[in-house]
Symmetry: C2
Subunit: 225 residues, 2 copies
């Protein structure tokens, strides 16, 4: 939407050039980690029979490793468990940028792309840590309350790991960028902020009802603590 | 996160099997359209040198055609303009599902995957309509207020089209699904709803200041009108 946007940062499609060299990334690993930690899902791209497939997936990060998981019998995990090349992209939408001209409209966003071959996690302890981290990724503080995975659940689940080394973060923030001639137009311009916002928790009434824990009643999505 | 989730709907990674046959899709075209219209960005997957690339991109829908655009000189548009096979995935996050066991945690979401070869839009009128639809996709009612694209802006921009025929929608909604034995656990369970929520518009002060239009002050993200 902003092919001629000249703001310092980079809008999504037009300038989202692929950077396979970490040293060329616009942002450091701290930014990469914070975006991955805040984004609930990422979009995992892989190639089957020469064609791309992109699937939304919960992820979790431990240090410099990203974990994703799924049914051991499923197509995605079967493909990734074989060490497929993936591109994992996580995107946070921060706002809509409304310029006075159509082509300078943009969005504020933060995005991370990771590349690399995947590794299937065979070590039982690493697998358990990755699954626990996934629960914590969704809701920090939750993992200590829940029943841990049973053996048959572990067997039915594959976990794959991706090293966070070929990473690129892209961020567009701030206000409108205009052609100077457009500033005189009698058109409102500005930013509509957007954020993924929690509502009131809805308690399940199937079993024991216990008080809503603070991690649910005060749920807040944020990056690296 | 829900390899053993037995809810009627399908969680993201574990069961997101690829359905290339529209007749097998779980939902009809109305659902596909509504999800595409509500999602601000989609993730576009394509293949370069045998490796997947996934880029977040603004899109717009007109009827049964999805449009994306970007710099004519950019890598994504250059690849797509050549008629590349793509997978375009749009995902809306509706909530976190907190079960009493780790492995039954899930998310409520709506997602669409589109497949197919792309077509570069060469017709000037179609290109203008697609760019106008992109502004309307971001903020309904906005396009009538803004300066339309100039010739040099049009030349610098490529628009590609994807027929919405090989489409698959997946939706998980509703509450917790548990193993019966877990219902007795003294653990809170339920759903934390999530939605992309607008904040107060921030008016740009570079040029003429005009009142905030209602489409910005009462901004609301929704599907097909």
């Amino acid at each position: 939407m902003t092919p001629t946007d000249r703001s310092g940062a980079t809008p999504p499609s037009p300038r989202a050039t692929v950077r396979r060299h970490p040293e060329r990334a616009h942002y450091g690993l701290d930014t990469v980690h914070a975006i991955l930690d805040e984004a609930i899902v990422s979009h995992v791209g892989f190639v089957v029979d020469g064609r791309p497939i992109v699937i939304p997936t919960l992820h979790a990060r431990i240090g410099d490793t990203l974990y994703i998981h799924g049914s051991a019998a499923g197509r995605m995990l079967t493909t990734l468990a074989a060490g497929a090349e993936v591109c994992v992209t996580a995107t946070l939408i921060d706002g809509l940028v409304l310029a006075r001209s159509a082509m300078h409209h943009s969005i504020n966003y933060r995005s991370v792309m990771l590349f690399g071959p995947t590794r299937v996690v065979t070590d039982r302890e690493e697998k358990l840590r990755a699954l626990e981290a996934t629960v914590e990724h969704a809701v920090r503080g939750r993992s200590r309350d829940v029943r841990p995975p049973a053996e048959h659940e572990l067997r039915a689940t594959s976990v794959i790991a991706l090293a966070i080394d070929e990473a690129s973060a892209k961020v567009r923030a701030g206000g409108v960028v205009e052609d100077p001639a457009d500033l005189a137009l009698p058109v409102w311009a500005g930013v509509i902020p957007l954020s993924l916002t929690p509502g009131e928790p809805v308690t399940d009434d199937q079993g024991q009802v216990v008080p809503v824990p603070e991690y649910a009643s005060s749920y807040r999505r944020s990056g690296t603590p």
